[in-house]
Each structure stands twice: as C-alpha cells, then as structure tokens.
C-alpha cells in the first residue's frame, strides 16, 4: 500500500492505494469520479483519457502511485461552475456522440489536442513538420484524435465539434441562413486557464 497525494479537479486528495491500482480505478472506485470510462483497460480505446499535469494520457495505463504529486483533470473538472468548457459545448452543439460512453475521453483528448496545436506540435499528417504554425482541419483532427475510438462511429460529428472548439470549424447554422455572417465559435481559453 502507498499513500498517494493527488490534486483532482482542483481538490487535493490523499488516498491509500494498492500499488497495482491504476489512476483510472483510483478516480472511479476510490474517489467516486465515474466520468472517466474503462473501455479496454489496455490503452487502446482512449475512453479513460484524462489530463495529467495538463497533458492527455490514458489513465488505465497510469499507475496511481505514478500520479502521486500530480494534478489531474477529468471530464468532471472541465466546466467552470455551470459554464461548460468550449469543447463540451461544441460536442453538445454538434451532437457529437451516440451512446456517450467514449465522450468523456473524447472531450479530454480534444482539450489536449487543442493545447498541442497551440504549442505548434506537428502530427503524422502535417505536410511540413518544420512549420510551427498548426492549422487544424478534418485530416489533422482525425489523426490527432485517433487514440479515441467511438464504436457508434460518431466521428462525423466529433471532428466538426473539435474544429468548432478550435475556432476553425464551420457554423452549424450557416447553411440555413445564407449570406448572414455570424461568429461561428468562441475563443478557446488555454488549458491552464480553464483547469
């Protein structure tokens, strides 16, 4: 047994765990935050994605003892009061889910993706990897989100939702009102501002 001190969604927690406990099981079974989901438990599906010290990771492959001293943000910690995180709002606006099981992981992963893009990280599909300006488009979002599987195949709505949140999406209502210009997206605060 090891005592783990970890800040989860801005609240400090101290939990004595068996060393074998994953961060995911700590969140779900010990702290009662069941928003993060257990899909495969092998790092293959991404349903367990959380932000560890601001970076997206698979919490099923992260031992709780390894997270000792870290800050964790789960889907429950993204909203500010009753105001949803822009990525959460975009998923609602775009109906970017069907059963919803992968959604917390998708959203946490997307929050990570937006930060990585702001930091100028290239991806496998980036044409010029020496460029520091990342422009997210469908192909970039699909590649960057490939660690999150959706068995309902809601990808067709997930991709536009992530682009909306990135400020590079299309106004979902624009087609209904041709000629009318309306700001399609809200600016996205940095991960650290939100957490």
């Amino acid at each position: 047994m090891t005592t783990v001190r970890v800040t989860i969604n801005r609240r400090e927690r101290e939990v004595a765990v068996d060393n074998r406990t994953s961060l995911l099981d700590l969140l779900r079974e010990r702290v009662g935050l069941t928003g993060s989901k257990k899909g495969c438990d092998h790092g293959q599906c991404g349903a367990c994605t959380v932000l560890l010290d601001g970076r997206r990771v698979n919490s099923c492959l992260t031992l709780a003892v390894v997270a000792d001293g870290s800050e964790v943000t789960t889907i429950e910690g993204l909203a500010t009061g009753t105001v949803l995180h822009p990525v959460q709002q975009a998923f609602l606006d775009r109906d970017a889910y069907q059963c919803g099981y992968c959604t917390p992981g998708q959203i946490c992963s997307a929050v990570g993706v937006l930060q990585e893009a702001r930091d100028g990280w290239p991806s496998h599909v980036t044409e010029d990897i020496t460029s520091q300006d990342v422009v997210l488009d469908d192909e970039e979002v699909r590649e960057r989100m490939s660690g999150n599987l959706c068995r309902c195949a809601a990808y067709v709505n997930i991709v536009p939702a992530v682009l909306d949140a990135a400020g590079e999406g299309r106004d979902p209502d624009a087609a209904d009102r041709p000629g009318e210009k309306k700001p399609a997206y809200r600016p996205v605060p940095s991960v650290r501002d939100v957490i």
């Binding site: 991404g46 990585e116 290239p122 496998h124 520091q132 699909r142 660690g147």
Partner: protein, 328 residues
Amino acid sequence: MQPFTYERPADLESAVALLARPGAKPLGGGTNLVDLMRLRVETPDTLVDVSGLDFGGVEALPDGGLRIGGTYRNSDLAADLLVRTRYPVLAKALLAAASGQLRNMATTAGNLLQRTRCGYFMDATKPCNKREPGSGCPAINGVSRELAILGTSEHCIASYPGDMAVALAALDAVILAETADASLQLPMDGFHRLPGDRPQQDTTLPAGAVITGVEIPGLAFGARSTYRKARDRRSYAFALASVAAALDVEDGVVRDVRLALGAVAHKPWRARAAEEFLRGRPATAENFRAAAELELADARTTEDNAFKVPLVTRLVTGTLLELAGSDR
C-alpha cells in the same frame, strides 16, 4: 497483476542501486510494461520509477548531432525543432507511432525497451520461447501476419514493433546507459538482438542498467530523411513494415544513404547490403528496387507474412524516390 513494490528514486545513483534487486525493473511511461503486467506477461517484484529523473531534453552536439534524454517524452521529442529540422526521419517515426495520449506518456528509454506485440507472447496461456524459454513457438505455424521475415530462428519469429528505434538505427545512434559500476555506450545496431536460441533476451543492455540518453551523431544529409510506415489502418496501428531513410544524391548518383527497416525482424533492421549496393549508383527506381531485393534475399516468410517481401520492396523504392526528388 502480481503485487510489487514501487520505488521512486530521487537520483540515478539510487535508481541503479534499487535495480540491483532481483526481480526489479525500471518503469518509464508504463504504456507497455503496465499493460504486460496486467496480462501477467511481466511479473516484476519491484518497479523502479525512473520517469521523474531529469536526464535532459534535446541538446545540440558540436558535431551537428543531438543528445536526447532517456526520460524525455516521445511527444516532446517529436515536437522538438532541432529534431524536426536535423532529423525529420526521427520526428516522423515518432509521429507515426501510437496515439497522442501514449506519446505523452512514453519515454525515449522505455520506447527502446518495448517488447514484441506477437500475440502468443502477449497471451500468458500460450507457449512462447520468449516468455517461457523452451515452451515452443506457436507463431511459426500460427498467426504471424505482423511477425519477422529477416534474422528469425527456429525458436522465435517475433518482430520488434517500434518506430522510433528504426529511425535511430538508420541514424547510427548510440544508447547511453549507467550501471552500478560502468557508463555504457551501446551502438544502436548491436543494441537489439536477433532471437537465435535466446529469444527471451531482447537487447544487450545489462540487467539493472538505466538508459540515460541517446546520442545521434551529426549527419550532413540528415535533413533529407523520412519515415514511411505501412499498416492495416491509417493511424494508431503497429507497422506491418516501415522504412527509415536518409539519402544524399549528387548529379543523379547516390553519394550516401542510410536505410533501416521496421517490423521485419527481432530488431530494427539496418539494411547495410542495400546501402552498400546503392553507394555510387544512379538514383533510379530500378536501383532502389534492386537494393531492396538484395536486402530481402534471405527473407524467410510464413504464409501469413509473405506479403512483406513485395511490401518492403515497394516501400523502400517509393521512400528513396521521394528523397531523391523524383516520382518514378
């Protein structure tokens, strides 16, 4: 998962001392090791978490090369501008690997030490000479689509699954490691082993050693390098075959070339025969194809993975043509 003791040493010296314990293993990002522990393929008594030890990031070396810290995360390494400009092959290999989440976790050292994804190795209920020496290799007459075609033995046809190490093999990288009484410099080419009659041993790294870094020597044409990976889906899958290449062409003739193949052997396969064939020859599709065929002359395939021979031949040809600035 078998119970284990968790240790988080404050420095390298303590880490090396802890790793001298029988049954101790170093822990990096855990993306492979923790999974294998859950599958009861790995059963360490002690995990020595070295992931928090700071062995530096990316540092330029006087010879134009780079030094990379052993615990630097794959995502940071792929995003590093020095890596992206001096050795695009390395950045591209990293970006072709795993997922964004896994790259945020994985370390340089841990990536090098990841184990084969052979289905029999990962299933503790099956015989496997790598996991349980002497128990047999069901892969040879079994499911072997992902497995090796070069340098195999009658005991094991497992393939090394990683991408980063294929780029490092092409770049003549050197692994830096520390044991209780020695500082080691292990050239990439001899770091991963062929299976022979000891498939249980993946590398030549001594037990208890900590990988502290990797040095890549300067390479004048390193900027003219790339990585191509063939897989069953376009993202987030292990390679069926991959190619890491750097090419120096002058007046249509190959002046120098570095070539390594992934997912075809128990180790990242440095294609030295192909390199030697190409030096001084015209940079043409015919020569690139002939070089690949020469390298694959001794390939031993199964019914499942015979497709890798033409696949690798085309991958090598296409990749070198791209670097030569020609489409055909």
